[in-house]
Each structure stands twice: as structure tokens, then as C-alpha cells.
């Protein structure tokens, strides 16, 4: 829109002395024998001392490449051009490899996603952190190891001497991400680039990491935050760039971009974030409004009853872990029951128990009032079409040799296979149900986009006309706008077919958006259950309270008070200096409280 073409918006002219990073007209392209493709087309911004600039975008937006080109690491075949690329006033465009190496780690720290993969898994964290000091020739061995302990202490790692000797895999998610941050700030760089620093982390860990970044900012570091997650960005950012396909569509102070976005894409992105406030509303602009009024349940008998489910796993060292302990619930016709929990909470194991894919150690599952878990697999097979599943990663759940047509045919019940014409008709009907072009029948899933694959997966799950569909993290791997479309689709399908959903997710926003009732799981047990209103409004269990408190709250409606469907076409001047709470409703929590 209007701001998309502006290379030097008025707010990009601060006093030059505290500009740590100045970027103008940054372009990055990858070339190979196949041709040249520009993935970043003209990015401009300034990063000031103590400021957080965020780049928001979905996959393929070029945000990560932008971040990497700032430190000269775009990767093989990459070329970077810029009108201006200045770090602390030095032009980096003529930098040679050695200049870059001296810069990285010392003046710019880099924090990537989950430290489980971003720190060398074979080495203790002290070696990893110490390496940041060693490559820049900082101190001697003894002073380096003192410094490592000091750094771990600073980022709030308890028992730093013990932790330093452990490998990333031996640390909990929060601790190892802090160790990663410690390695990035080892030499107190003035700039820290955080590229999806909380992706793949549990929400409570995410809150800890965000608090750590916030306290770094307080200490005067400038942060460039790269994220696909608007709610994360809203927590930290002073200035936001929205990117799509290599272009900056819009940028400005956080309050303006989030509160009164001027570009349609930004608006769609904001509207797509699910949460309690979006219940009963479509998330994506194309979707028809969903009936706010729930259909009355058809009959009162539950379609699915789980009573006292228990599942234990024996580890290789003979230790027994209880993955699911005494879980009970019922699912009514046409209802959505959300199961939310962090990794290791047992929610996916529960899904597999319900699907009869894992043997129960105790408890029973009844499907449509009939025994289900008690049946031998041979008898259960006939009932399997009544309960189907949609996985997080649809691609791996399709036989790689099969086309969409073959995949869907395989799922058709016998009554739909009577003749070639009924088969064909049913296939087309299924595709129409999930808004896919019939032309895709001949395609292989590898050739489909993520959203299309998940639609095929949903069509397959619906093909046998099930009573229950288990959605196991079914939208978790999707970009937020695609996720919004799929969630809208699921809502519509439930409305038209009356199917019940068992919706498993780690994402509290998604769960609160879709669920009629919610189970909160921790360490294999249900700690609390209730409606979204009671769970989110007055959580009783301390863990639920902690969980709810960890959600980076993101309610765009509260930013401006205006409904998002009709945003004000003119950017509303909002004081950029206003503290975060007023504009983006960040919960003001002191860092120490979160980190304790």
C-alpha cells in the first residue's frame, strides 16, 4: 500500500549517533544455474540503541535472509546489495570474510530457534559459550571459564557450575535457550539478532525467553527480532516491519502497525491470530462468517467416552514413565473438545490411545456407546471409519507413491466404491468440501502447498463419514494465515457434517478459539477442565494459571477499540512512546517473576 514503496519514511530519521544499524534498500538474491531469484527486495530500517525492531512475516517472506544478510551469512549462491548497510557507522558492504568474522559475536549476537538444535548437541554448553569468547581471543582459559559461569548466572540459570558441564539435550527447554542467549551475549554485543527465538518452545518457556530478551533490552542492547508470531512481536517490538515475499509491505511504530494497520495483508495477519476473542468468528478474510450460535447437540449420548486411561512406557534403562495417567472425558455429538498441554504432557499419547493405535495399560474407551478399546484389532477394524485422524505433518502421512486421487480413494468406505461414477462423484464432493480444485486429483502431495496438503488430509479424514475426527496438532505447522483458513474450514465442516472434534494442540490461542470444552494436561494427567470461559477467565489449578499467564496476550481489538473487520483506512497517529501496555496489552511482569 502507500507505505510499501517508501524507502525513507519520516520516522526513520533519528539522531545518527545512537543508530547502531542502518539499512537502506537491502536486496538479497540467490543465483544458481537455474536462474536468479530475489528473496529480499528493498528493506530499509534503523536499529537504535536499546530499541527492538521486529520483522514479521510468514515462510518465504525473506525475513530470515534479511537477518542473515546483515551479518554476511546469506548462504551459498546468495548476493546482497544495499544502498546503505552501516554498523556503528561503518560501511559493511565492502567487508571481507575476516572483517565479518571479527564483527560476528563481538558486535552482533545471534539467537536462533530452540537451542536443542542451535547449540552443538555433542558438546557441553560451557564449551559452546566459551567458544564465543575463544574465537575472539578473549582472556585465557581460566578467565573464560569464570566468564561462562558469570554469563549463565546473568541469564538466570540456576546451579551454573553444574549446568555448564551438561549438554543441551540434558537441559530443560528454558535452560538451554538461556544458554544459547548466554553464548550470543558473551562479549556484550550492542546488537542481538533473534531469529525465531521462541519457535518450537513451550509457551511457559517462551515467556521466560521473552522476559530475558526484554531485560537485555533494558540493559541497552538493540534487538532485531525475527518472528512469524505476532503475539511474540507485540511483546517486545518498538518498531515493526511486515514482510511478504521479500517486500516490506508496511512498517512503523509497533502501536501503529498492530493497532491500525494500513495494509490488507497486515490486517489479515492480525485477524488470523486465534484466541478467545475470535471464538465464533472467521479468522481469514475470504471465509463466510460462521454462525455464532451453536447447533443444539443431536441427542445427548456421547460419541466418545474415555474412562481412566493409563499408558506407561518402559525406557531403555528399564525405568517406567507414565505418559498418560487416569485421563477421563466424554465427547458429545458435534462438539469440539480441546486438549491442551506442553510437550511431554501426554496429549498426543492420549490421542493415540483414543484412536486405538496404542495399547491401553488401564481404562476403557467407548465409541458411539459401543466397546472400542476392549475389542481385538480385527473387530475394531470395521469400526475404524467412525473415528479418523488428521496429523500435524500431512505429507509423511501420505504414501509417497500415491496421488491425491489414490489417497482419497483408499479412504472411501465400501458404499462409495460401488461403481466408477459413484467413486468419482464422492471424490469430487470431498474436494469441494475442503475447497480444493478437482485438477489436484492427479497431483502428488509433494507438489502441493502446506495448506493444500492439510486440506487433502482433512478430506481423507472425512471420506468415511466419521463421527469423530482427532486433530493432532493439525494446524501447528502451518503459517498463521493458512492456519486461519484451515481453522475456518474445520469450523464450517463441523457445522455442515455435525462431526465431533478431539482437538489436540499446544497452542492455547488455537484451543481457545475452537473448543467448546478444554482439558488441560500436564505430566500425563488432566489438571483442569472446563469451558474456555472458565479456563481462561478463572483458572483454578496453579499450572493452568501459569500457562494462561504465559500467553503473550494479543487482542488487536483492545489496541484500537475498533473492530478489525473495518479498520480505519487512515493510519491513526498513536504516540510511539506510549508504554507497551496501552498499545499492545503486554502484561507488565517484572523479568524476575517470570524467571523464578
Amino acid at each position: 500500500m502507500s507505505t510499501a514503496t517508501v524507502t525513507e519514511p519520516p520516522h526513520l530519521q533519528p539522531a545518527t549517533d545512537d543508530v547502531r544499524l542502518r539499512v537502506r534498500g537491502l536486496r538479497a538474491a540467490f543465483s544458481a544455474a537455474g536462474g536468479r531469484r530475489e528473496v529480499v527486495s528493498g528493506v530499509s530500517f534503523d536499529l537504535l540503541a536499546g530499541q527492538c525492531v521486529a520483522i514479521v512475516g510468514e515462510s518465504g517472506s525473506g525475513k530470515s535472509v534479511t537477518a542473515r544478510s546483515l551479518v554476511g551469512l546469506v548462504g551459498r549462491g546468495g548476493e546482497v546489495h544495499a544502498e546503505t548497510l552501516e554498523l556503528y557507522g561503518r560501511d559493511t558492504r565492502r567487508f571481507r570474510a575476516r572483517d565479518w568474522r571479527r564483527l560476528r559475536g563481538r558486535h552482533i549476537g545471534f539467537v536462533l530457534q530452540d537451542a536443542l538444535v542451535s547449540l552443538d548437541p555433542l558438546r557441553p554448553v560451557r564449551v559452546e559459550i566459551g567458544e564465543a569468547l575463544r574465537v575472539h581471543g578473549w582472556g585465557d582459559r581460566a578467565s573464560r571459564s569464570r566468564r561462562v559461569i558469570e554469563l549463565l548466572t546473568r541469564v538466570g540459570v540456576p546451579l551454573p557450575h553444574t549446568r555448564a558441564r551438561q549438554r543441551p539435550g540434558q537441559l530443560s527447554g528454558g535452560l538451554r535457550q538461556r544458554a544459547l542467549i548466554a553464548s550470543a551475549i558473551a562479549l556484550d554485543p550492542g546488537i542481538v539478532i533473534a531469529d525465531e527465538p521462541t519457535t518450537a518452545l513451550d509457551v511457559t518457556v517462551q515467556a521466560q525467553v521473552l522476559a530475558e530478551l526484554e531485560s537485555m533490552k533494558q540493559r541497552g542492547a538493540s534487538i532485531l527480532l525475527i518472528s512469524h508470531d505476532l503475539s511474540v512481536v507485540a511483546q517486545l517490538a518498538d518498531h515493526i516491519l511486515v514482510m511478504q515475499q521479500g517486500r516490506v509491505l508496511e512498517q512503523g511504530p509497533a502501536a501503529v502497525v498492530l493497532g491500525s494497520p494500513s495494509h490488507d495483508y497486515t490486517r489479515a495477519l492480525i485477524a488470523a491470530v486465534p484466541g478467545e476473542h475470535t471464538r465464533g468468528r472467521p479468522l481469514s478474510p475470504g471465509s463466510a462468517p460462521r454462525q455464532t450460535e451453536r447447533r443444539a447437540a443431536r441427542g445427548t449420548d456421547p460419541v466418545l467416552e474415555a474412562a481412566g486411561l493409563v499408558k506407561r512406557f518402559t525406557g531403555p534403562d528399564g525405568s517406567v514413565t507414565t505418559a498418560v495417567r487416569d485421563v477421563s472425558f466424554t465427547l458429545a455429538p458435534g462438539e469440539t473438545l480441546g486438549i491442551v498441554g506442553e510437550s511431554g504432557s501426554g496429549k498426543s499419547t492420549t490421542a493415540r490411545l483414543v484412536l486405538g493405535l496404542e495399547r491401553l495399560d488401564a481404562g476403557t474407551v467407548r465409541l458411539l456407546g459401543e466397546p472400542w478399546s476392549a475389542l481385538p484389532e480385527r473387530r475394531r477394524r470395521a469400526l475404524r471409519p467412525r473415528i479418523t485422524v488428521v496429523y500435524q505433518d500431512p505429507l509423511s502421512s501420505f504414501d509417497p507413491r500415491w496421488t491425491v486421487e489414490r489417497i482419497l480413494l483408499d479412504a472411501l468406505p465400501r458404499e462409495d466404491r460401488t461403481s466408477a461414477s459413484t467413486r468419482r462423484a464422492r471424490l469430487l464432493e470431498l474436494l469441494a468440501l475442503v475447497d480444493l480444485d478437482p485438477e489436484l486429483l492427479g497431483r502428488f502431495p509433494l507438489r502441493l502447498s502446506g495448506g493444500q496438503r492439510q486440506r487433502v488430509s482433512i478430506a481423507r479424514a472425512l471420506a468415511p463419514r466419521p463421527s469423530v475426527v482427532v486433530l493432532d496438532e493439525a494446524v501447528s505447522a502451518l503459517d498463521v494465515t493458512i492456519q486461519a483458513q484451515i481453522l475456518d474450514l474445520l469450523a464450517r465442516l463441523q457445522h455442515t457434517t455435525g462431526v465431533s472434534y478431539l482437538f489436540i494442540s499446544h497452542d492455547l490461542g488455537v484451543i481457545s478459539h475452537v473448543s467448546d470444552r478444554i482439558l488441560v494436561m500436564k505430566d500425563g494427567a488432566v489438571v483442569e477442565q472446563g469451558t474456555p470461559r472458565t479456563i481462561f477467565g478463572s483458572p483454578q489449578h496453579p499450572y493452568t494459571q501459569q500457562l494462561i499467564a504465559s500467553i503473550p496476550e494479543f487482542d488487536p481489538a483492545s489496541l484500537t477499540g475498533a473492530p478489525l473487520e473495518n479498520p480505519d483506512p487512515l493510519p491513526r497517529p498513536i504516540d510511539a512512546d506510549a508504554d507497551g501496555r496501552a498499545v499492545s496489552s503486554i502484561r507488565p511482569r517484572p523479568a524476575t517473576e517470570v524467571l523464578s
Binding site: G77, G344, D472
Partner: protein, 344 residues
């Protein structure tokens, strides 16, 4: 976002998280896991050895005809019918008159005490025949493995993940080199470096300089073979986020390759080492023949020609023992390089 629903089953994350909260109980769990693993590995090693010995024993029965006659004919070098009087001492010497099961148990008992039986042809214990020649072959094998590792590490570190052209060239070279027959490579090396350039002795030579060409003959295809899996792992590791993190710390390309990536990439090749020892010993059969080196290779070829089965099975069983022992060592080395294995 990168979590997969399949792996989410709670087990991995929980066992992973528990040590973080209780380091002491982790230490105990760890040593228990290690102990369990050692017992299991040793158990399966014993099973493999027993199986190998059994195969060896029954192979000895597989020669067609009466065993005593066969033995006598092999010794005499001519096939003819023998009288019972002629056969009696052979039967007694090899204990052939006893029931098969007794012979089998006796054979197993012999193996445990290091007795591999007697040669058909030479009337001497197999252990003595092999023992005289074993040193030379082991020296050759170990040198070859060492060379192979050096070649492989240098080659992969130089060529892996360096753009499509060099990568394609590197991996093509791996495959071609891995498929080179030892006899051809040996002859080529002999022609060029011994006969042509006269850098190394043509025949045998007990000194270290006589070991270079035979060891290289074995090492080059082995290096190519190991490079294939190492290269794949090397390139995979280069794409890992932790490598990016290391670069972002200011580490150079070589630093990253040597101190981070190589360790990950070496793991599959370490796993192959037990197999590699067997491969070099069997390759030694050919190489010793080309370079006229002493060793169990020449003993083996002679024994196969003469159908002297106790010698053949003795060598084969011995190599199986080496394989098993080296694999146990490999497991130890593997856990040193990748401490995560103890946990999982």
C-alpha cells in the same frame, strides 16, 4: 512448530527434562543405563560368536564323502579309496569316531581355550599356523584403516558442502574409488610407485616402507566407502542450526568444519570400523598375494586350494572374533564421541 505429533509421546521430553531437575538421580540412572547396555551388548556379542563357531563347525562337515577319507586324500594330495587300517589313525587323531554332538561341544570347548583344531594338511594346530602369520596381517589391516581415516577426513573436509560442482565431483570420486578392485589398484600402485618411481620396494619387505603400498591399496577403496556416509552426514551437519550459531559467533569456515561438523560426520564411519577391519583382513588376502607379503591371506589361499577346512574355518572364526571385539570397542568410542547415546 517443528514438533511432530508422532514423537510427542511424552517419553522423550520427559526423560530429557528429568535430569535437568535432578542431576544426582540422573547420574545413577545413567550408570544403570550404561550397565544395562554393556550387558546387552556383551550378550549379543556372545551369541554372534557362538553362531560363527557353529557355522564354522558345520562347514567342516560339508565336504562330500567320508571325512577321514577326505582328510587323508587332502594330505596325500590325491583322491583314492582308503582301507580301514589307513583311516583308523586319522579317525583317532581327529576324534571322528565320537558322536557328532560330542565333537561339536568339544570344538566349542577348544575354541574357548584357543584351540582351533588341527590342519588336515600339515598335522599342526591351526592356532600355530595362523599365529605365525597373524602379526603381519594385523599390522597391514590397522595401517590400512589408519590411512583410510586420514584420506577420508581430509578428502571430505576439503570437498563436502562446497557448492554443487565440487560436491558432485567429491561424491562421484567416493563411489568410483570405493568400487576399485584391490587387485587392480594394487597392481597400479606397484607399477607406478615401486617399478616406475622406485619409491617403495617391489616385493614384500618387512620394514615399514614395505607396508605403505599394500596398506594404501586397502585404504583407498575403504576411504571411498567411508566417505560416502561421512559426506552425507557432513553435509547434513553443515545445514544444522548449531553450525549457523557457531558462524554467528565469529567462527570461520574451517573452524566450524573441524571443531563442530567433523565430530558429527565421523559417527557413521566409526560405526563402520568393525566392518572395516573384516574388510581389510579379507582384502589382505588379495593384497598379500600381489605384493608377495607374508600373512594369513596367503595361508588362507593355500588352505582353500587344498580344501584344508580347519585352517579356513579357523581364520574365518578368528576374523569374526575380531569383528565382535572391535564392535564392542566401536560402541565405547561411539559413546565418547556422541555422549547422547547413553541417554537414549
Amino acid at each position: 512448530m517443528t514438533r511432530t505429533s508422532f514423537a510427542d509421546a511424552g517419553t522423550s521430553a520427559e526423560t530429557e527434562a528429568s535430569p535437568a531437575t535432578a542431576p544426582t538421580s540422573f547420574g545413577r540412572a545413567r550408570s544403570r543405563a550404561v550397565a544395562r547396555q554393556i550387558v546387552r551388548k556383551a550378550g549379543s556379542a556372545l551369541v554372534v560368536l557362538w553362531g560363527a563357531a557353529t557355522v564354522a563347525f558345520f562347514a567342516q562337515l560339508a565336504l562330500p564323502g567320508d571325512r577321514a577319507t577326505v582328510i587323508l586324500n587332502i594330505r596325500a594330495g590325491q583322491a583314492q579309496l582308503r582301507t580301514p587300517a589307513e583311516l583308523a589313525p586319522i579317525r583317532a587323531a581327529f576324534g571322528l569316531e565320537r558322536p557328532l554332538i560330542v565333537q561339536y561341544l568339544d570344538y566349542l570347548r577348544g575354541l574357548i581355550t584357543g584351540d582351533f583344531g588341527n590342519s588336515y594338511q600339515q598335522f599342526r594346530p591351526v592356532t600355530a599356523i595362523i599365529g605365525e602369520q597373524l602379526g603381519a596381517t594385523i599390522a597391514l589391516s590397522l595401517t590400512a584403516i589408519l590411512f583410510a581415516w586420514l584420506l577420508m577426513v581430509v578428502w571430505v573436509t576439503l570437498t563436502a558442502g562446497r557448492g554443487p560442482r565440487l560436491t558432485a565431483f567429491g561424491s562421484l570420486t567416493d563411489v568410483v574409488v570405493a568400487g576399485l578392485p584391490a587387485y587392480w589398484l594394487g597392481i597400479l600402485l606397484l607399477l607406478v610407485f615401486a617399478l616406475g618411481l622406485r619409491w617403495f620396494p617391489v616385493l614384500g619387505g618387512s620394514g615399514p616402507e614395505g607396508l605403505v603400498l599394500p596398506a594404501l591399496t586397502l585404504a583407498i577403496p575403504l576411504a571411498g566407502f567411508m566417505s560416502q556416509s561421512t559426506r552425507a552426514e557432513f553435509e547434513r551437519a553443515l545445514e544444522q542450526p548449531f553450525v549457523l550459531t557457531a558462524r554467528m559467533r565469529g567462527m570461520g569456515d574451517w573452524g566450524v568444519r573441524i571443531s563442530h561438523v567433523l565430530r558429527h560426520a565421523a559417527l557413521p564411519a566409526i560405526t563402520l570400523s568393525g566392518w572395516a577391519l573384516g574388510a581389510t583382513i579379507s582384502g589382505a588376502v588379495i593384497v598379500e598375494s600381489i605384493f608377495s607379503r607374508p600373512g594369513i591371506g596367503s595361508v588362507l589361499v593355500a588352505a582353500v586350494n587344498a580344501q584344508d577346512l580347519p585352517v579356513v574355518t579357523g581364520i574365518v572364526t578368528l576374523v569374526a572374533v575380531f569383528y565382535v571385539v572391535v564392535n564392542l570397542l566401536v560402541d565405547v568410542v561411539h559413546t565418547l564421541v556422541d555422549p547422547r547415546l547413553v541417554q537414549s
